[in-house]
Symmetry: C2
Subunit: 250 residues, 2 copies
């Protein structure tokens, strides 16, 4: 049996990784039902998760855990459950959105020469005991801060900005998104489109939330984050976010 | 008995340190008999060394060692020995002269951010595993070189340019040279003047040959090297170098 364009796309976006169900559900709510009052039924969630190979039982366990941890709350309506982000869960999703959907941080970039190791932050990458890169100009007291061109950073320094696993994951996602740009025109079912949208966002979210907030040019050789962002942007344009109601089974 | 101006000056220049005779003799030849063919008799050397508290026996041992190590050669002339630098010794003295008599290195100053620790050189000071300061723009392969204003260097960085003992020694010498500027007008004997000249040069030579070749502003808080150089320059102007023949006893 020949795989369909949809199946090929799901494979491309999931191969080589184990999807964590609770993390996929966080992506779903963050992407499709982030606004106050927006909910998704258990059946709508199942419609998104099942084609990703996530079983009903795993979905239930994940929903239970997410409720227990305060991410989501549920409401029963007859035989159906409806789920939505809690205020806290919504705040988390809102805080993550700029990193997932936003552009890469632009310059200027600063080299901090510090007396002792700088405390790591999303926008501060320690690259040696006395060195950090940051888009922030205000280093710790006693530090010497120098503006640097990301293009002028030597390879060994950029190599310490992101680990090889993350660089490899971004390359894999970029290849998958390139494939999607070919397959997507063939996929017209809105439910399938929603599944692919979630998988694309999820794939980038896994990477984006681990990235230091530095310009792409400060990243290691082989870094394809800029290409991944460009593909993702174009694909999300082509797959606009469906309203939660449109995800409910007819 | 009241100390004379000469005695006070010798004390100021030697207190708190143990003069190493062979090193003083190297200073003497480097300062007073560096040119090819210039020699000093054993009696002239004794005339310079005795007022510093260096005994005849210690002088003989030092001359023996310096001959053995190839710094000086001797020639007997009747009952008197005459000593002069070997070609090798002269090359050493000539190489050291700019550091002893010359001005402090001027900027520009560069911060080298290196992948691994930079190999120390006279003009390269390693201040952290990945950091060095240098007046040379050409760091090792893969390094990032940034021009920095010495005045902008944080204290902890300058503190690594010279150790506290050297800073203290420079402060002590500076105080002694200040004292000399008061005492010197009272000292008119050419032999005494020559002794003081040697002691001043020797005091600075001990420091200058240990200093990294960086601008004074890159040195630790309390660094008085610039003052020491200024005093030494003024005093050497007032005590011109005597010809070797003038040092021979009449």
């Amino acid at each position: 049996m020949t795989a369909t364009a949809f199946e090929r796309s799901v494979s491309a976006l999931t191969e080589g990784q184990t999807l964590r169900v609770w993390s996929v559900i966080v992506t779903i709510f963050g992407d499709l039902a982030q606004a106050p009052g927006q909910t998704l039924s258990g059946r709508a969630l199942a419609r998104l998760c099942a084609p990703m190979g996530l079983r009903d039982e795993a979905q239930r366990v994940a929903l239970h855990r997410l409720r227990k941890e305060g991410w989501i709350e549920s409401r029963r309506d007859g035989r159906q459950s409806h789920y939505g982000l809690t205020d806290w869960g919504r705040a988390q999703a809102r805080a993550a959105s700029p990193r997932i959907y936003g552009p890469a941080p632009a310059g200027p970039l600063y080299l901090w020469v510090t007396e002792t190791a700088a405390e790591p932050r999303a926008d501060v990458v320690a690259i040696a005991p006395n060195l950090a890169l940051s888009t922030a100009i205000d280093g710790p007291p006693g530090s010497m801060v120098q503006q640097v061109a990301p293009e002028a950073l030597p390879g060994w320094m950029r190599a310490r900005v992101a680990d090889p696993a993350l660089v490899a994951e971004a390359a894999r996602l970029t290849a998958a998104l390139e494939r999607l740009r070919t397959e997507l025109p063939k996929i017209t079912d809105p439910a399938q489109q929603a599944v692919l949208r979630v998988l694309m966002v999820h794939g980038w979210r896994r990477i984006a939330l681990k990235l230091p907030l530095l310009p792409d040019a400060a990243f290691p050789d082989g870094w394809q984050g800029a290409a991944a962002r460009a593909h993702l942007g174009a694909l999300l344009q082509a797959l606009p976010r469906p309203a939660p109601a449109a995800l409910e089974p007819a």
